[in-house]
């Protein structure tokens, strides 16, 4: 039962409570956590080879370095920790397990082969230079294309063709419908490998506590899953491990993974009973944190002469890297891309064959969007191509296929239910707000205006947010719970503490969750304090990734708030002299409905509940002002938006400028508009980077060529245009609170919009753009030399 609807909501663009201390430099990131005396610092020795047998390790010279405490190899660690196994329960799935430190074989450049513990980081680095490792270098399959070639070296012996997972789906009657298509079109989209690259590299500090216990600080998005993972791999009880996610400097899914270094650090802490600390440097960050989106989408679509899609076929190859990422496994991208391809369209016949391919490169995993940016690029690229083939405006093609209000609720061909959405409305609104029609009308056939090819691209997208348990189990991810929890507790002072099973890495949870709690408790926002990231105080949950914060954190808080509200009312009722059902909560007071002058503050209620007053507490069963609730969201909540990008491609140097950018967005009930907008800005910036400049480059020998920020280029302020953001209000019909997720939409829509805009810009000169990244060198080579502005013509 909700509280008085007339109460002022604590919603809206409230300034963040996190900011004051972050702005003063008083944040506590993992490298800032106070180091107990005697902390040892770890550095890892990394493999310089993509595939090699380890013949021997000689640490004798390293041990001579003053300050060095120990050097341990994979065999030493194997005595302390089990190999990592994701336990994916999916028919046909082949595991790609991993020793926490490589023992006999390395499978990617950057894989750890030894760890040095020393008194300080400088000494540790002196020592790793002196660790001698003897390798027998073996032929490697570092890239997707190499790994798929016949006879390629196998990354894992039990997957001789390097296919770790092959998934297939075919809707009933697909073959005949597809064969009978009036028109057919095929395209292959090649998305390049990228990575999340949060500004804060990963790290952890493990310190013994009394008895056998340990506190484990780690820069993570998944503290509870880390704790479970540590307990599993170290063979010790979960209750002995307290995991704390401190302030986390960006995650983007890169830190939603449980990594071997975490096991190593925890194991060393337990072994030596000393605090141990490790923080990545940027090169390690680039080399060994999860990579993503190295994908090939071979798409074939059958459609009618008026552009209505009848059938869609996908063959997808996703680079899974050398080992499976924990807890999601090697198939996360292969399945994600395949299952989300149909997008917001009424495609009733669909078939796919998807493949997770092992390569001698860093493990792939869950970078913001998780395959959706790439598959959205593919389906949106198909829409544009249908338009070009038929001479129809690409927006018109989309409108003829998109789910409209009367089609809802929609269950897609895969059986996924889309709750209430505004797929058509956002598209139509974006068309109007962006001036799309006027742009099209003025676009010359060759698109060349003032020396630049100008085009417009659309990213009409859905994102799967807030996954519940079934969403993960259907993909075999047995270690991802799907539920989240919240504990709300009223303190003796009447303030409310909120403990949520989430872990923020910039999304403003301390503010947004306080807003939800305040609204549902009838409390002032200032009376709420939110706590996250500490497994000893927060309830168990799935933690934070895949745009689930608002849905599951919000949902759990709403439930717990309902319970706590009841408790408060039960204690307040006798203080107010009215029955419980006449008590409402507003503005941190319990008051009588229709007689608000009769009110008692939360502080008074709390003191009464905690027996700090003369009056006896209410009789009856247990009272106390604390409630814990868990919330299982719907299997998947679909959010939608439409991105439109206008670009100009310089005909002489190939550089791309984004001249205008617009998003019309539906994320259901909005908690804090400012935070939502910030998520979109950030996602779009990453999408721009992904399309125009970011790429992880492995050469044919598996050397990671650009493992520094000089060479892995990320967008700066000059690369990101101002954006117009427009919101459509359509609460989810299925989630508690009506929330839909928003964290990943920015990158999903922008990859499609920007790449399609460039493709549109060059379509007038017969150039086909179907890959990322679109660097100036690549684009210029596609453009004919003759297309130069009139200013200077050469023979």
């Amino acid at each position: 039962m909700m509280n008085d609807p007339m109460q002022d909501h604590a919603n809206g663009s409230v300034h963040r409570v996190e900011d004051s201390y972050l702005l003063r430099g008083a944040g506590m990131f993992v490298d800032d956590v106070p180091e107990p005396p005697g902390t040892l610092h770890a550095s890892f020795v990394m493999s310089p080879h993509a595939c090699a047998r380890i013949l021997g390790i000689d640490a004798s010279a390293a041990l001579e370095v003053p300050g060095v405490f120990a050097v341990l190899t994979g065999d030493d660690l194997a005595a302390l920790a089990r190999p990592m196994s994701t336990g994916i329960d999916l028919p046909g799935y082949l595991p790609a397990d991993r020793d926490v430190i490589a023992r006999s074989q390395v499978r990617f450049v950057g894989e750890h082969v030894a760890v040095v513990l020393a008194a300080d980081k400088y000494a540790a680095q002196d020592a790793i230079e002196l660790v001698q490792v003897e390798y027998e270098v073996l032929p490697a399959s570092p890239t997707l294309e190499q790994a798929m070639a016949a006879g390629a070296p196998a990354v894992h012996g039990h997957a001789p063709d390097n296919i770790l997972y092959r998934g297939e789906f075919s809707s009933p009657g697909f073959e005949s419908v597809h064969a009978g298509s009036a028109l057919r079109l095929t395209e292959t989209f090649r998305h390049g490998m990228v990575a999340g690259v949060p500004m804060e590299p990963r790290g952890c500090l493990a310190a013994p506590e009394r008895g056998d216990r340990m506190v484990f600080y780690t820069s993570t998005q998944i503290p509870h899953l880390v704790r479970t993972g540590l307990a599993e791999h170290l063979g010790c009880p979960e209750s002995h491990i307290r995991v704390v996610a401190p302030d986390v400097g960006g995650g983007f899914g890169t830190k939603a993974i449980f990594y071997p270094e975490e096991i190593v650090m925890a194991a060393l802490c337990l072994k030596y009973r000393r605090p141990v600390k490790w923080v990545q440097d940027r090169r390690e960050e680039l080399l060994s944190n999860i990579h993503a989106r190295d994908h090939i989408y071979q798409v074939e679509v059958g459609f009618s002469p008026d552009g209505v899609i009848g059938s869609l076929h996908l063959r997808l190859y996703a680079n899974a890297g050398a080992y499976s990422c924990y807890p999601f496994g090697s198939a996360i991208e292969a399945l994600g891309g395949a299952r989300m391809l149909v997008g917001p369209y009424k495609i009733r016949h669909y078939a796919y064959a998807t493949h997770a391919v092992a390569t001698h490169s860093a493990p792939a995993g869950t970078y913001r969007g998780v395959a959706q940016p790439a598959c959205c690029m593919a389906i949106e690229g198909i829409m544009d191509r249908i338009g070009r083939r038929l001479g129809l405006d690409p927006i018109e093609v989309r409108l003829r296929n998109v789910i409209g209000p009367r089609d809802q609720p929609w269950t897609n061909v895969m059986g996924l239910r889309y709750d209430r959405g505004t797929y058509r409305e956002c598209l139509e609104r974006a068309r109007v707000l962006s001036g799309y029609d006027a742009f099209r009308a003025s676009q010359p056939a060759d698109r060349l205006v003032d020396g630049k090819y100008r085009g417009v691209g659309i990213g009409n997208m859905i994102e799967g947010t807030g996954g519940g348990s079934p969403a993960y189990k259907v993909r075999g991810m047995m270690k991802v719970p799907g539920i989240d929890g919240a504990t709300l507790r009223m303190e003796p002072t009447g303030r409310i503490s909120v403990y949520v099973s989430h872990a923020t890495s910039g999304q403003g949870h301390y503010t947004a969750f306080a807003q939800v709690a305040a609204e549902h408790m009838g409390a002032r926002l200032d009376d709420i304090a939110v706590f996250e990231g500490d497994t000893s105080s927060t309830p168990y949950g799935t933690n934070t990734f895949a745009s689930r914060g608002a849905i599951t954190g919000g949902g759990a808080i709403i439930r717990a708030a309902e319970k706590l509200s009841q408790q408060v009312k039960r204690v307040a009722a006798p203080l107010l002299g009215v029955p419980e059902d006449r008590v409402i909560l507003r503005d941190s007071h319990a008051m009588v409905r229709d007689a608000p002058e009769k009110a008692v503050g939360f502080a008074d209620v709390a003191r009464a509940a905690y027996g700090m007053v003369h009056t006896a507490p209410p009789s009856g069963d247990g009272y106390g002002l604390m409630a814990t609730e868990f919330y299982e969201p719907p299997p998947l909540t679909i959010a939608n938006s439409t991105h439109i990008a206008f670009v100009a491609v310089d005909a002489q140097d190939g550089r791309v400028q984004i001249e205008k950018y617009l998003i019309v967005h539906d994320c259901g009930t909005v908690i804090n508009q400012m935070i939502v907008d910030g998520q979109l800005h950030g996602g779009v910036a990453q999408g721009i980077g992904e399309v125009l400049m970011e790429e992880i480059i492995y050469d044919e020998n598996g050397q990671f060529l650009n493992a520094s920020l000089l060479d892995y280029l990320m967008p700066t302020a000059m690369d990101v245009p101002d954006m117009v953001l427009d919101h459509v209000d359509c609460p989810s019909s299925d989630t508690l609170g009506g929330f839909k997720g928003v964290g990943e939409g920015g990158v999903i829509g922008s990859v499609a919009a920007v790449s399609n805009a460039v493709a549109d810009a060059l379509s007038g000169i017969g150039v086909n753009v179907n890959r990322t990244p679109l660097r100036p060198g690549y684009l210029l080579a596609l453009m004919p030399r003759a297309a130069r502005p009139a200013a200077a013509q050469m023979i």
Binding site: Q125, D653, R655, N706, L710, T716, P776
Partner: protein, 321 residues
């Protein structure tokens, strides 16, 4: 410096070497131990350099050197900091030209009106060098001595045929730009020597200049860049044309052929186009993942035209045309 496979588009110290022999550690970010000296006079600097020879490196702004130390690509036994040697901070116009001592910060030169008047191409190029935080500490001479083939200032020195003043305990010698730059990160500075100053030849009072570059992102490292400095006859014809490019060779390239074609013209479209295209003859640009040789060759004429037009346009603006 070790030999390397050319990858172009990024400093050599980040390039990958021949297969199976990665020559730099992937796991180090703390610098190695070194002896540290901070002399306060040039004489002391030279004495320390003479004593340690090739074991010593000069530390000025550190913007290029310290990353190499952090990654331990370079492990000098001795660092001689000139940051406390104020006598090297001179920036002044002399008869020979604008003389820039070893401790002149890039930001200092950027702010200096005297430098702008004396050497417009230097003023035009400096805003492109790194970012403000790098220019505050990085030095003009330091960038030149590091000799990254993509450093904008190396194109300035090459275009203007700057004079490099090398000092040691044995005295001074002067070297011109084409003798100074030997290759990728390689100069003629001998062990025991330091680049004490660089002299950019004086330009006429009406000289105007421009620097243009392209890269894979709107702010960042150049893939190709061109500097142009023009001087004019009273009737507007070019009396002097100085052009150089980065990113089209292992060292900065003086675009002599283009200069010759433009001399005496007013930069008319036909002349400009002819000059721009003649510039590519004989060039063998490096390849690499940032941009291949084909891109560099194709974009060079465009940059030449843009740089000359911009410089020409600035002159017209100054004249109030």
């Amino acid at each position: 410096m070790r030999s390397s496979k050319r990858n172009g588009g990024s400093p050599a110290w980040l390039r990958v070497f021949t297969p199976y022999e990665p020559k730099f550690r992937t796991d180090i970010v703390k610098p190695p131990k070194f002896e540290y000296y901070a002399p306060e006079t040039l004489q002391e600097v030279l004495e320390v350099l003479a004593f340690y020879g090739e074991d010593a490196r000069v530390l000025a702004g550190g913007q290029s050197l310290v990353p190499l130390l952090n990654f331990r690509i370079m492990q000098p036994a001795v660092l001689v900091s000139i940051n406390h040697c104020q006598e090297l901070a001179y920036l002044q116009q002399e008869e020979s030209g604008l003389v820039c001592g070893a401790l002149v910060r890039q930001a200092q030169a950027e702010r200096s009106d005297e430098a702008r008047r004396a050497c417009p191409l230097l003023a035009a190029a400096l805003p492109w060098v790194g970012g403000r935080a790098n220019r505050n500490r990085g030095t003009v001479c330091g960038s030149l001595a590091h000799a990254d083939p993509l450093a904008e200032l190396t194109a300035v020195a090459t275009a203007l045929d700057a004079t490099f003043i090398l000092s040691s305990v044995h005295g001074r010698r002067e070297v011109q730009a084409d003798e100074f730059f030997l290759g990728d990160l390689s100069t003629c500075v001998e062990p025991g020597e330091m680049l004490e100053a660089v002299c950019f030849p004086a330009s006429g009072p009406d000289a105007s200049a421009a620097f243009v570059e392209v890269g894979n992102r709107w702010h960042g490292f150049a893939v190709v860049g061109v500097g142009a400095q023009l001087e004019f006859e009273p009737d507007g014809r070019y009396k002097s044309v100085r052009l150089a490019a980065i990113g089209v060779g292992g060292t900065p390239v003086r675009l002599q052929a283009a200069q010759d074609i433009l001399l005496g013209t007013r930069g008319e479209p036909d002349a400009l186009s002819e000059a721009a295209h003649a510039a590519s003859a004989g060039l063998e640009p490096p390849g690499g993942f940032h941009a291949d040789a084909a891109y560099r060759l194709r974009v060079l004429p465009t940059l030449i035209e843009r740089a000359v037009k911009q410089a020409d346009g600035l002159r017209n603006a100054q004249q109030g045309d």
